[in-house]
Each structure stands twice: as C-alpha cells, then as structure tokens.
C-alpha cells in the first residue's frame, strides 16, 4: 500500500492505518525534535503534539508536497514554538532553575571539544542552528528545509553557510583537528 492510500485510510478513520503512518515517520520526527530540544521529555512532548496536530489536520493536507514535508513543517513549528516558551519560562524562573540545562548555553569555559562544540551550536542564532542541525546532522535537503521552515532554498543555503562560518570561528582552537 502506498502512502496516499494509507492517508486515505487514515482519513476514513482506520486506526491501523494511523498507527502505520505514525510508525513510518515517528523516528525522523523524534530525532529532529531531540536534536533541537536536547531533552527527552521535551522531544517526546513535541513528537506527540506533532502527530496529534497532523492527524487532526489531515483533512487540510492536499498532497501537493510529500506527506513527510508537510509533517516536518508541523514538527519544526511545534518544536521551535515550544522551545521559545521554554526559554521564556526559564528566564522567568531562573531563581529556581539552576539544575536544568535544556538547549541553554553553558557559560563556563571547558577545553573539551564536545563541550565547546555544544556551546558553539547552542550559541548560533535560532535560524542558523535549525538549518545546521537539519542539514548537517539529520541529513535534510535544502528543499526539505525550505519547505519545513517556509523559506527559500537559497535562504537555507545561506544560513547553513553562515552557521558553518560561525562554528569555524568558535572552534578555531581545534583547527588542528581538520587541517591535516
């Protein structure tokens, strides 16, 4: 059964087809949510919210683009909005929130590459960080990223280039690692 038939069955109320559609896409949605959020509970929340919205709005999916593109548009919207709320909330509650570290930069200097890389990625502007993680880490194409984020393909390419340039500067201490 191809995906359009599966979607037609979901629209007709077939719960087995819902589960099959979920199984087909859940890994990629969860992985993206986790990469962006860096927290399992948040990634699960965002993944659940993505599928709940997708099933509720499946009637509005016209099939002009691939279902995965449509689903990843919902994913990025849910995750980025959710992370903004978390960030606002954390700023408000800074007095009781010392122990947690979800997507927020660590300010103390560490010589370790992993820590420095994490800090450098966390410090990227939201748009650069999203494109970088989608393209270089999760393997999305610029066309998929453009469709998911509602930007031109050229914008996605430009943001990736700027993200890499910023990371190169931030990680210049480790230049020996790649200049060999």
């Amino acid at each position: 059964m191809d995906e359009s038939q599966l979607i037609a069955r979901v629209r007709a109320g077939d719960s087995a087809a819902e589960r099959a559609l979920y199984d087909t896409h859940v890994d990629r949605v969860y992985r993206l949510a986790f990469r962006l959020a860096g927290d399992d509970a948040l990634a699960q929340d965002f993944t659940q919210e993505t599928f709940i919205r997708a099933f509720d709005r499946l009637g509005s999916f016209r099939g002009d683009a691939a279902f995965s593109t449509w689903l990843h548009t919902i994913t990025t919207t849910v995750v980025l909005n959710g992370l903004r709320k978390v960030k606002r909330f954390r700023q408000r509650e800074a007095d009781i929130d010392d122990a947690h570290d979800i997507g927020t930069p660590q300010r103390h200097a560490e010589p370790d590459l992993k820590v420095r890389l994490k800090q450098a990625i966390d410090d990227l502007p939201e748009g650069y960080r999203t494109v970088f993680l989608m393209h270089d880490v999760e393997g999305y194409t610029h066309e998929e990223i453009g469709a998911a984020l509602g930007v031109e393909t050229g914008t996605s390419k430009a943001q990736l280039s700027r993200a890499r340039a910023k990371l190169r500067v931030a990680l210049s201490d480790f230049a020996g690692e790649w200049v060999q």
């Binding site: 986790f34 399992d40 509970a41 699960q44 709940i52 009781i96 270089d136 890499r164 990371l167 690692e177």
Partner: protein, 212 residues
C-alpha cells in the same frame, strides 16, 4: 575572522563531530503512541460541534452573569460606598475569575502528579518539575494580586507554593524518595481537598485547557 568560503575538510569534520550534539536515544514509539491515543480519545470526548460551542459560550456568559450578580449582591459596602470604591471591586472580580481558572489548573496538575509520578519515574519527574515551575510563577503572581488579600485563599496559595517548589526541584536521580515525601506532605496538609473546596461548583468551560 569569519570565512565565508567553502572548506570541505572543515565541513566533513564538523558533520562528524556534530553527530554527538543532542544525540537522540532510541525512539520510545510505544510510550508516545499510547499518549497520542489517550490525548486524541480525550479530545474527542470534549470536542464540540460549532453550534454546541455557541451554546456553551452562551451558557458560560449566563453563568458568569449570575455569578457577578450574586457576588456583587453580597458586597453591599463596596457597591454603596463611593464611586471610587467600585472600580477595585470590579477589578477584584477579574482576579477571582483568574484565581478560579488557576486553581482548576493546579488541581488537575496535582491530581495527575499524585497518580502518574510513579510511572516512568525519571521522565515524569522532569515533566512534572517543568509544569510545577510554570504553575509556581502563576502562584506567586496570585499571591501578589488582590486575590491574595483573601486570607483563606492566601493560606491555600502558600500551601500550594510550598508543594510546587518541592515538585519543581524534583531530581530524577532521587525521584522515589522525594516524591514519596511530597505526596506524604500533600496528604498531611490536605492540600488537594482544600483546593477542590476552593473551586466554585459548576462548569468552568476552560478550566484545564492548556494546563497540562
């Protein structure tokens, strides 16, 4: 200095190094599917047809009107004193409505905490801590608002503040012991029954929407 030109060696190195950034664990597909099904099932129960939404909205306005009427009728001093004193009274009513919604959210949260915190303890601790912090900020706003002038409500808000602070600081590593202490404390202080009795009877159309 920032370099805009391509550097294949750096890009290749960066791609490999960045795989460790927020590396996901295996997808917990069954757990998430169960929650998606539950959420959709519950949503279907309360999902209203367009004409029903209008009916509910009309009923809510009617109930609110009756509530305002009864409340103002019980406040003869405020209504007959001076023109200046009526403005704060109306504003207090706004805070009381906000307080009712907040108390409904908190009741749903604490009920859920008590029943669910033992399941998937580590993950739930993180989630509950997050939600508790959100409610805690509202609790403190309530304490500083005119709603906090009511001694009975103030005492309840202070009890809730204590419980929410404890939940907000839950450490998944010591979850079992901490949650037992919190639930024991809740039982001893009778905070849930007090909370339920403080919530006015009758429908509150948006009582838990968006809280959990």
């Amino acid at each position: 200095m920032m370099q805009e030109h391509e550097d294949p060696k750096f890009e290749q190195w960066l791609k490999a190094a960045a795989k460790s950034y927020h590396a996901p664990r295996p997808t917990p597909r069954e757990e998430m599917w169960t929650r998606i099904e539950d959420a959709r099932r519950n949503k279907h129960v309360v999902e209203l047809r367009p004409w029903m939404r209008w009916a509910v909205a009309a009923a809510a306005v009617l109930i609110l009107g009756i509530g305002i009427g009864r409340w103002t009728a019980r406040q003869p001093v405020a209504t007959v004193a001076t023109a200046d004193s009526t403005a704060p009274a109306q504003s207090d009513l706004g805070y009381q409505i906000a307080a009712t919604q907040y108390l409904s959210h908190t009741e749903a949260f604490l009920t859920s905490f008590r029943s669910d915190v033992g399941l998937h303890r580590g993950e739930n601790s993180v989630r509950f801590a997050r939600q508790a912090r959100d409610l805690l900020s509202t609790t403190r706003l309530m304490l500083d608002s005119p709603a906090g002038k009511d001694q009975r409500l103030r005492s309840l808000l202070e009890d809730l503040e204590l419980v929410l602070v404890q939940i907000s600081q839950l450490d998944p590593a010591h979850g079992a012991h901490d949650t037992d202490l919190i639930t024991q404390g809740m039982n001893q202080s009778n905070v849930l029954p007090k909370l339920r009795s403080a919530i006015p009877a009758g429908p509150v159309p948006v009582r838990t929407e968006g809280a959990l």
